[in-house]
């Protein structure tokens, strides 16, 4: 899929990198990395996303918030076409582009697309393999055999996921022996080992205690300098702490998309205010 090659510098957009969680003027931001235009999405006969238009800038953290069933996870899974795996799920109208390339184009290789968009799930899902093999797995299936290259990638990825110091002496023990928070960071290490451009996180901390949550949030802050992150969360304070931009969804519609600071300090839409204040949802 040459058109999606991230090494194509002509397609690469450099954005300025303001301080973490600093206000961002989305109207002045450079062209978005991910562009969603008038997207309708259906599960069988049910339309679950209605005319979603959203521009997600590069190397920023964008949070999707909204009550259960509002469509935020569905939209997240549209970005890497995970919904293709569900019978009857289909895009009804609109398009999603990454670096200007429509991801539903017939010549787009879905496997390649998913390499570009790593995903971290609600429940950590390490493979029943060693810590080392969990991280090296993606590279191995890409055909990397060189031991020193694998060693270097495993260490770099575990460092990047803030896990190296905790596991460097037991790399060859099972990943399933780690705590919940460590397992989630192992999954993040596995994700970043294949150097995706975008990381999708679907409620990555919902099963974690506050200390493990704080470590993941700190990690999100660090990953932001290298990756574009889209995170679905039910935790309002997490969205406030971690994200630069926040999109609020309700009943399958995008209600408001603004800098996080605006959403939590002075939202434009009364529905957004009611939701972030806990008055509904």
């Amino acid at each position: 899929m040459p058109v999606m090659d991230s090494s194509n510098t002509d397609l690469r957009i450099r954005t300025s990198m303001p301080a973490f969680a600093s206000p961002v003027d989305i109207h002045q931001a450079p062209r978005a990395l991910i562009e969603i235009e008038n997207l309708d999405f259906h599960y069988g006969p049910h339309k679950v996303l209605h005319e979603i238009s959203l521009q997600i800038p590069e190397r920023q953290v964008t949070a999707f918030i909204g009550p259960s069933g509002c469509g935020k996870s569905t939209l997240l899974r549209c970005l890497n076409r995970m919904n293709d795996l569900i019978d009857g799920a289909r895009v009804g109208a609109g398009r999603i582009s990454i670096r200007g390339i429509d991801i539903h184009r017939s010549d787009v290789d879905v496997i390649e697309l998913r390499k570009r968009l790593g995903m971290v799930f609600q429940k950590s899902n390490p493979f029943p393999k060693s810590i080392y093999e969990n991280v090296a797995y993606g590279l191995r299936i890409q055909g990397v055999r060189d031991r020193s290259r694998l060693d270097e990638a495993v260490e770099r990825s575990l460092q990047g996921a803030g896990l190296w110091d905790e596991v460097k002496d037991r790399l060859h023990t099972s990943g399933l022996g780690l705590s919940g928070g460590q397992q989630q960071r192992l999954c993040i290490a596995r994700t970043i080992a294949v150097e995706p451009e975008i990381i999708l996180m679907d409620e990555p901390c919902s099963a974690l205690d506050p200390i493990a949550t704080a470590k993941i949030e700190e990690l999100i802050k660090e990953l932001r300098s290298k990756f574009t992150i889209v995170i679905v969360t039910h935790n309002m304070q997490q969205a406030a702490r971690c994200s630069d931009l926040t999109a609020f969804f309700y009943l399958g519609r995008l209600v408001e998309f603004s800098p996080t600071r605006t959403i939590f300090m002075n939202p434009v839409n009364p529905q957004t205010e009611a939701y972030v204040s806990g008055r509904f949802g």
Binding site: M236, Q237, A240, F264, M265, N266, P267, E273, A274, V276, S277, G278, R279, F280
Partner: protein, 228 residues
């Protein structure tokens, strides 16, 4: 959807309105004591200042508790922050009323210096400003809050006018100096009360609009406008 702690926020709002009512009453009574040379009333104003001090602490305590336990955002967060700041201004209004009451007691021991004309006018304008600023706590009205800022210049001008008149009196009659100085300070207290009302009004604009107008050219212009 009603939340189980919504009543706490209403209680917070009520505390602030109660404090505003008491502060306004203090200023009114202090000036009434001046007009009637009523030392007893002045004593009661001084004694009642403790209530405002306690209310300020209570409001701070409630605000910190609400922020810690309820994690407010958006307009709720602004309400709590504005509440804390406004209660500080109201406490200072109470201090000014106490200061006036103490001067009333000293003035009552001497014959009146001159008929009070400008001071009652200042009181009327300043108390209206305070009332209008506090009214925004119950009715979101940023226009009214901005009009409070506009009226500050009128009180400043009355203060300057009174200062000139009293200085003239002191030059003409050195025997009037102590009484004229007391009245000068009372006038200054009224001017400060109008400033506190303006501060509260600016906070109210932040509360209703989420816009910080302090030190903005819009408000600076309004506060320094020359009143014909």
């Amino acid at each position: 959807m009603k939340r189980f702690f919504d009543a706490e926020l209403e209680n917070f709002r009520s505390l602030l309105l109660l404090m505003g009512e008491k502060a306004t009453r203090q200023v009114h009574d202090a000036m009434q004591a001046l007009a009637l040379a009523d030392v007893g009333l002045a004593d009661r104003v001084i004694a009642a200042d403790d209530e405002l001090d306690l209310l300020e602490m209570k409001i701070d305590d409630e605000a910190v508790r609400y922020m810690s336990l309820r994690a407010p955002v958006a307009s709720e967060l602004r309400l709590v922050i504005v509440g804390m700041k406004a209660s500080h201004d109201l406490e200072r209004v109470g201090d000014e009323a106490t200061s006036i009451a103490k001067r009333v007691i000293r003035l009552a021991a001497e014959p009146p210096l001159k008929p009070l004309v400008d001071l009652p006018l200042m009181v009327t304008v300043a108390l209206e400003m305070l009332g209008d600023a506090l009214d925004c706590f119950t009715h979101d009205n940023s226009e009214k809050a901005l009009s409070v800022c506009h009226r500050d210049a009128a009180v400043d001008q009355l203060n300057r006018q009174l200062f000139r008149d009293l200085t003239g009196l002191m030059i003409e009659n050195p025997g009037s100096i102590s009484r004229a100085l007391e009245l000068t300070f009372i006038s200054k207290s009224m001017e400060r009360i109008a400033d506190h009302a303006t501060n509260i009004a600016e906070e109210m604009i932040y509360l209703t609009k989420g816009r910080d107008v302090r030190h903005s050219s819009e408000v600076k212009k309004a506060r320094s406008a020359v009143v014909p």
